[in-house]
């Protein structure tokens, strides 16, 4: 008899605990979802507004468009210039892809040297490199512009790509060095016993181990270069070489009355590559960020 009583007693407590736990979960998720929606609202508004006419954008509060009209997209894509956005997207990729390639190669090489080799002045060089991270990019614009002017490289993509080939994106070097420091050296010693030289070691052992960090570098560099406005603005003067970020700007200023619907529609399209790259790399990217202790 006493055994039965105690058994139901225990059951009652469990039931109460389960209900409490469930209620907690519901509250937690409701709060999180609400916060998420608030933060995403501007994005929803942007997408909604891309289907609206100017009048509707400035009069309606809600983001839901009254009709699903794709004409802003078509108009925006055509632009008021002689080129369509196909050209501008193509231009953007002409900058982004080579820049990513040279960034990854140069940063991995420099990070490998800093993390794994002993050489004279290593500590000082590393602190100088980290110090340049604090330097605002804008300070470098004028000397860099003059330099590229002397090299006769203005109005080409070279000034936008070439600096990255010398591991000047110190933030990436720093991130890779930190990641490499976290990888135990045993595997490299085993590879050394197996007969690897320094470059074979880099290619066969280090690069595969660095993969998550390299993917983070690719994603960051893709998004940052895609969104870069100042760089192309300074170095590029012919419209046929403009990337998306600049082309968006001229579609605002070129005509007397701005078709906001078209501008917004193209903004939405301009977001797509970055979002696509982020989601494609998400799994590895998050790995890399987590293990370098870096916030995304």
């Amino acid at each position: 008899m006493s055994a039965t009583t105690s058994a139901t007693g225990v059951g009652a407590v469990d039931h109460y605990e389960v209900r409490k736990e469930r209620l907690n979960t519901i509250i937690r998720y409701t709060l999180l979802i609400t916060m998420g929606l608030i933060m995403l609202y501007p994005l929803f508004w942007l997408i909604g507004a891309s289907f609206k006419s100017n009048a509707e954008i400035f009069t309606e509060v809600g983001f839901w468009p009254s009709r699903l009209d794709f004409t802003p997209y078509i108009k925006g894509w055509k632009t008021s210039t002689e080129y369509t956005f196909t050209r501008y997207f193509f231009n953007s990729f002409l900058i982004v892809i080579p820049r990513i390639i040279v960034t990854v190669i140069s940063c991995v090489l420099v990070a490998y040297a800093f993390a794994r080799f002993d050489f004279w002045g290593k500590k000082i060089l590393f602190s100088i490199m980290v110090a340049t991270m604090m330097l605002p990019q804008i300070v470098l614009r004028i000397p860099q512009y003059i330099m590229f002017q002397h090299f006769d490289m203005l109005d080409s993509y070279t000034p936008l790509i070439l600096p990255s080939a010398f591991a000047t994106d110190t933030f990436f070097v720093f991130m890779l060095v930190q990641f490499l420091r976290g990888i135990p050296r045993d595997m490299e010693e085993a590879a050394q016993m197996d007969g690897c030289n320094s470059l074979q070691m880099l290619w066969y052992i280090i690069v595969p181990l660095l993969k998550p960090a390299i993917i983070s570098v690719i994603v960051f560099q893709f998004i940052w270069t895609m969104n870069d406005f100042i760089g192309p603005l300074i170095y590029l003067s012919s419209v046929d070489k403009y990337p998306v970020s600049l082309a968006l700007k001229i579609s605002i200023g070129a005509t007397e009355e701005v078709e906001w619907g078209s501008v917004i529609a193209i903004s939405v399209l301009a977001l797509l590559p970055s979002v696509a790259v982020f989601f494609a790399a998400q799994k590895h990217f998050v790995d890399g960020v987590a293990s370098t202790g870096l916030k995304g």
Binding site: P184, D186, A190, D194, Y204, L209
Partner: protein, 376 residues
């Protein structure tokens, strides 16, 4: 296959710390040598110097007839098994085994057949298409050994390869590695092995010869039985053997051929052995293995009987370790299970009588700890 010769090998770190002090020894072709010592005795450093992963400050290292002080690891003909296996995580087992051979530029079919042979020998054929993360500790260990075997090296280097395994697996891997060495020898492919461990049981069971190290210096380099029966000094005496040898403060009086030791309030004549002692009265350290300490037993000859208190008892199954206290000293006795009844009824603090079989004692210099037996 090849011998390994170390001639006055020393290692000084950039901060001035001397880790290895002029080590001299020769490992014969096909021999299984164990380097053993407590942490920080530079045994791993020494192994890594042979491997080429650590630079040599001075001295001469020869593998075979070649001086290899400055040769890169791959040109030394050595293969190494690491403590945490160091398998390449992004390669399958097959690729892990083949990696070194591919770098050597061997033809594909030769690589494949060598990998398969090694896999058969180690019974890891079924694991060839797995990634290292899908292997258990023992399997990873075997793959790591396989990676060394495929290269058919002149010298195998093992750096505490079993210390990450559980006790049972460690015991079976121990047998396996020893068997492998015998097997290769029988097949006409004798291989020289240098094996580093901090575990004296591993050292005693695996090594044909053992090099006991302390603070970068060789204490004794000998066969297991010599280390056990004729330790060169108190360090070797207490390091080798489990439980540890009892080392007691004693006093030796020499009068012609008569030798008397006084210890723990009793004294006894020592049987005649050759001792290299100077003077007639001197303090010494007396070492006695736990199996030479009798408990409550009868009237054996050459035994010094001492009254003491029991401290505690450890049951090991086939035997019993009993710990006694005499004044400040603790004496360990190792009894076969058949005699467990002698101590099992005793509680902490109970009186007991132990007999020291001085016939089997080792005498050491009180200051230097060197064995006074003249064979050393």
């Amino acid at each position: 296959m090849a011998s390994v010769t170390l001639n006055k090998i020393a290692k000084v770190y950039p901060n001035g710390f001397k880790a290895v002090h002029d080590i001299d020894f020769k490992i014969n072709d096909g021999e299984f040598v164990v380097l053993v010592g407590p942490s920080g005795c530079a045994k791993s450093t020494l192994l890594r110097m042979v491997a080429g992963l650590e630079s040599i400050t001075s001295g001469e290292l020869k593998i075979g007839d070649k001086v290899v002080n400055r040769a890169p690891p791959k040109d030394r003909g050595a293969a190494m098994v690491f403590q945490n296996y160091a398998l390449y995580p992004h390669m399958k087992v097959r690729e892990n085994l083949a990696f070194g051979l591919k770098l050597q530029g061997l033809p594909k079919d030769e690589v494949a057949s060598r990998v398969l042979d090694a896999a058969k020998l180690l019974e890891i054929e079924t694991l060839l298409d797995r990634f290292p993360r899908q292997l258990s500790g023992g399997q990873s260990q075997r793959v790591a050994v396989g990676r060394a075997i495929v290269k058919k090296p002149q010298v195998f280097l093992f750096d505490e390869p079993l210390s990450n395994l559980d006790a049972k697996l460690r015991a079976s891997m121990r047998v396996r590695i020893t068997e492998l060495h015998q097997q290769l020898k029988a097949a006409g492919l004798p291989c020289t092995v240098i094996y580093v461990t901090h575990d004296q049981v591993e050292a005693m069971t695996m090594g044909e010869r053992i090099c006991v190290l302390k603070e970068g210096r060789i204490q004794q380099f000998d066969t297991p039985s010599m280390l056990y029966n004729q330790p060169a000094n108190t360090f070797v005496a207490s390091f080798i053997g489990s439980p540890e040898m009892n080392i007691l403060d004693a006093h030796l009086s020499v009068n012609g051929s008569d030798r008397t030791v006084t210890l723990l309030g009793g004294s006894s004549r020592l049987p005649e052995t050759k001792l290299s002692v100077h003077g007639t009265e001197l303090p010494i350290k007396l070492g006695l293995r736990p199996e030479n300490v009798l408990v409550n037993a009868s009237d054996e000859r050459d035994v010094l009987w001492i009254d003491c208190e029991i401290s505690h008892i450890e049951y090991m199954g086939s035997e019993v370790f009993a710990y006694f206290r005499v004044g400040d000293a603790t004496i360990t006795s190792r009894l076969p299970a058949s005699q467990a009844a002698l101590v099992s009824a005793l509680k902490r603090g109970d009186k007991a009588r132990i007999g020291l079989q001085l016939l089997h004692s080792h005498l050491f210099d009180a200051e230097t700890g060197v064995n006074l037996n003249s064979t050393h």
